[in-house]
């Protein structure tokens, strides 16, 4: 009996709510119109400049370290494998203790040394060097370009090249497309 009363009350409540809903005044609502695209993909580029013993655009993501021998020219490369054109980079060269540098030079962009002070084309350019200190070289490099360097010094031991580049010195652009 109690269950019947509950059922009856429930039905009454539902019917009452339905009736109340029907007699409510229309509520105001805002009509909106939307225009949207599917998706616009935006990707940022990378500034990737590194040193290597042979020319490559595969980023080792590590400092370049190798052995050097007294009086034997050592060639290495500074590669730009990123997306940006950079106007400069900073290079810190570490030499064996008490080493004296007799020559430090480079070829033109994208030209490698083929012998002692011999570039595949054009002539070499002497560069300043301060072993153990970071030196900024104002040398523009475009994506997928390189510089070939050659160093001659008078000690045998470990030689390393660390490269740093800043996005402050990349070429920026305003485009319309």
């Amino acid at each position: 009996m109690r269950s019947n009363h509950r059922s009856t009350s429930l039905v009454a409540a539902v019917v009452g709510a339905f009736i109340l809903a029907l007699i409510q005044p229309p509520t105001s609502f805002a009509t909106t119109a939307i225009a949207k695209n599917n998706t616009l993909s935006i990707s940022s580029g990378k500034l990737i400049i590194f040193a290597s013993g042979f020319q490559t655009f595969t980023n080792p993501a590590a400092i370049y370290t190798t052995a050097v021998i007294n009086g034997i020219p050592k060639n290495f490369f500074i590669n730009n494998s990123g997306s940006f054109t950079s106007s400069r980079f900073t290079m810190k060269i570490t030499l064996p203790a008490n080493s004296n540098v007799s020559a430090f030079r480079r070829c033109n962009i994208n030209v490698a040394f083929t012998g002692t002070n011999v570039c595949a084309s054009g002539s070499s350019t002497t560069q300043s060097i301060t072993p153990g200190s970071a030196v900024t070289y104002i040398l523009p490099s475009t994506p997928n370009s390189f510089y070939s360097f050659q160093i001659v010094q008078n000690k045998t031991g470990v030689f390393s090249v660390s490269i740093s580049a800043s996005t402050s010195f990349i070429t920026t652009a305003v485009t319309h497309s």
């Binding site: 909106t32 949207k36 935006i42 990707s43 580029g45 990737i48 590590a62 370049y64 997306s83 497309s177």
Partner: protein
Amino acid sequence: MSPVANVLSKSAGSMALKVTIIAAAAIGGAGLISSNVFAALTATASNTSGGSVTTGTLSLTLAPSSVSGITGGFTSAITALGPGDTVNRYIDLTNAGTLDGASPTLLISTVDSNTIVNNVTTGLQVTLFTCSVAWTNTGTCSGTTTVAMSVTSVAVLKSGAQAITLPTVLAGGLNRLKVSISLPTGNENTVNGVLPLNTVQGLTAALTWQFTVTERSAVTTNS
């Protein structure tokens, strides 16, 4: 037939006739009475033409500029954006409905979560300009230029719809937008080919640009 039977037969015929007459009279009388009680006179007036009620429409459309050279719109991907770069895209935003709009907004949504869409300072920035005539493909406007939205980060634009100021939201109105997308100039150092932490470099985001207008205020007219 015997005389008695003959008399009875005549008597029966007379009775049937009487019953028939009375019944007919009763039906006829009832008909007369009912027609007198329920008949009513009515008069109707209705229009013969017009009277049609049509609802308006509120519709916003988005299309890339049709000017040669700047048709990338929101469809052609932007690649290798660098700190300090700006890419301008040109959009025609039209109220294609019959109702005037109001309160235009822009909302950006993305499923990607990285520095260029999350960082208010170093992430992507958006500025909206309008031109009263078509933009040239070098980004110049020979008419009147207005700022529809000052520089706002994508991080903010995806946190909620931002109000923009359009030259027109009237029905049929066309807004020629220049959408400037930029990555702020930065000073990130890449060391030995390793990008710094929280870099803006090497990231991708797929952005959905949603422009919205609401219906202009409802009006009551007497006409």
